[in-house]
Structure formats: C-alpha cells, structure tokens
Symmetry: C2
Subunit: 173 residues, 2 copies
DNA sequence: TATTGTTATACTCTATAACTATA
DNA sequence: TATAGTTATAGAGTATAACAATA
C-alpha cells in the first residue's frame, strides 16, 4: 500500500476552532492534570476521590456518612465502598454513635492523619509542576482568573468534579 | 434527632488546600464546561466525541478509520461504534477504497457539513458563555496562559481528552 | 502471512432499589 | 412508619482478543 497516502502522521490541524478554545484547553488540561495527580498519589495507595473524602473527614470529624456524602454529592451506596477502602487501609474509623446506633461517625486514625499530610504535600508538588511554565506573578493571576470563572459557574465550590467517572482510566499497554 | 448537630448544611471549608488550587479548579472547570457543552450539543443529536470525529473527517477527508483512530487516540473497536453513530445519522459515509477493499474511506455528507457548521456555532456560543465573567483582554490573556500550560504538558495538542469516559454522565433524576 | 475493520467476551464502574437494624 | 447504612441487581461503557475479508 502507499504509506505516504494513507499513513501520513496526523491528518492536519483538525480544527483550530476547537483546539484553540478555552473550553477545549480547560477540559484537556483538567483531565491531564487529574490523571497525573492520580499517578502521583498511587504510591500512597489512594486515589483523588479518597483524598477528597479524607479532607472532608478531617475538616469535620465525627459526621455521619450520609452528611459527608451529601456534601460531596456522592450517593450513599458509593460512600459505602469509599469508606470501606479507607477503613481497610486503616485511615478512617467508623464509630457507632451511642445516641443513634444507625449512624456511623467517621474519624481519622493517626495513620490517616499522617497519610493526609503526605497527600497534601504531593498535591503541592503536583501544583508546582503543573504551573511550572508560569512565572509566580502569572501563576497568581491565572489562579485569580480560574476563580472568577468558577464563581461564574455557580454551584458549591468545594464539590470535586471527578467523582463521576474513574479518576484514572487504565492506561497500561 | 438533633438536626443542628448532624444535618448542618456543609461540613466546613473542607480543605482550602485543594479547593483553591490550580489543579482542582482546572479539573472542576473542565468537567463542568464539558458537561454543559454536551448539553448544548444534544439538540443536534451528537456528543462532543462525535464532533471531534466530524472535525477530523472534515479536516482530512477520505482517510481510513484506522488513521483517524490513531490521530484521535481512539482504539479501533471504538471507532467502529463512533462511525456507526455518524453514519446512521447520515452525517458521514464509509466508501470502499477500490485499491484496497479492506479500508473504508470516511467522507462527510452534505448533511454532515451542515451539522458541523451548526455545531461549531454552538461551540462559539458556549465559549462566550464560559468566558462571560472575563473582560475581552482578560479572556485573551487567559487563553494565552492556558496555551502555555498545555504546551508544557507535551503530547499532541489536537487530541481531545474526553474520549476516555462518557462525555456526560447521566444526570436525570 | 499480515492487515482493516467488525464482532464477541469479559470486566469495571455506576445507580436503583431491595434489605437490615435501629429509631 | 421512617431513616442510616448495606447489599444485590441490572445497566452502560470499555478494552482485549477472536474473527472475516482482503491483501
């Protein structure tokens, strides 16, 4: 067959209209960043979704699964698996509430606290790498613009977006 | 039960460390933007992934499925379903290549061309809405910063990110 | 024998809705 | 009866690998 005719590396610019748009770049950068962050987190044995929950628990210890699930916009049945993961790794405890024994109050273990710290350090690293191409002033400006856009979208700010689909689509060849 | 104790609306700031980060906001904005874009596209009967393919076909008509699949980083078996969708809607044609009858050369139909134009108009609308909170100068600056970051990540620029997971997680209550 | 496109299988992830225990 | 949490079921979507036609 004629390689030059059919196997040309890439079929052209494919549409500057999209590849140069804010929406396209935002989506591409967001997905790429999330994927690399998940990879950085992997040595710790958790995924970004677990970190989101760990932070929630740390920020308001002793809450029930239901309350945290609502705050994270995660359905109850998924919360079970999420908390199971963290509990199996000894990062979080389910404590029975003596007043209402239907509820499980979530608490961080010492191990969980330590891991959360390490995870946040990794997040800071990731942030630096991500913003590497920008000067400090540009980085601050970029962050400010991102905040303006996020505010324009409405909705609760603290709710993570990625809980809807797997944090890192399997990539091993 | 004591509502004030357990049902407090949101368990606090939940971790400024993440919610204020570039990575978090990028991911959140990217996902949100993609979701709303998919909704805008729905009346046309296509999803963002179809638009990406339509653009590819338009940019280099007559290529084989395999070539386009590689350019979009989409595995062959998924290309089949993607092209099926577009063909069933009469937007794209599979033409047999007389020289090598294993290949299907992809061509846009007249209807496909018309729909592509409308979709691009919708994309422009979406872009304007997304950037609504920014002044024109800020918008240009923001786009420039996004491009710098995207360049820093390496990899082909035109490859869309969202083809890995469903463009719009089902949301009907 | 190698390659293009297709189909089939198995797997992962999710939400919905029963189910258990407490209230 | 209603609620917190759990489990079971079914559905969507994917990649891997077998397959058919053509080279």
């Amino acid at each position: 067959m004629s390689e030059a005719d059919v196997l040309t590396p890439a079929p052209g610019p494919s549409g500057e209209a999209l590849t140069g748009s804010v929406g396209f770049l935002l989506s591409k950068l967001g997905v790429g960043s999330a994927r690399r962050f998940a990879e950085r987190l992997r040595p710790l044995g958790i995924e970004p979704r677990h970190l989101a929950l760990l932070q929630m628990v740390a920020a308001s210890e002793g809450r029930s699964q239901q309350v945290l699930g609502e705050a994270l916009a995660v359905p109850a049945s998924r919360m079970v698996a999420l908390v199971d993961d963290l509990e199996q790794r000894g990062l979080v405890e389910r404590r029975l509430n003596p007043d209402d024994r239907r509820m499980r109050a979530l608490h961080l273990t010492k191990k969980g606290r330590g891991l959360l710290e390490r995870a946040l350090a990794i997040a800071a690293e990731h942030e630096s790498e991500l913003c590497g191409p920008l000067e400090p002033a540009e980085r601050a400006q970029f962050l400010a613009l991102l905040r303006r856009l996020a505010a324009g979208q409405g909705g609760p700010l603290g709710v993570p977006p990625g809980l809807g689909c797997p944090a890192e689509p399997p990539r091993e060849p």
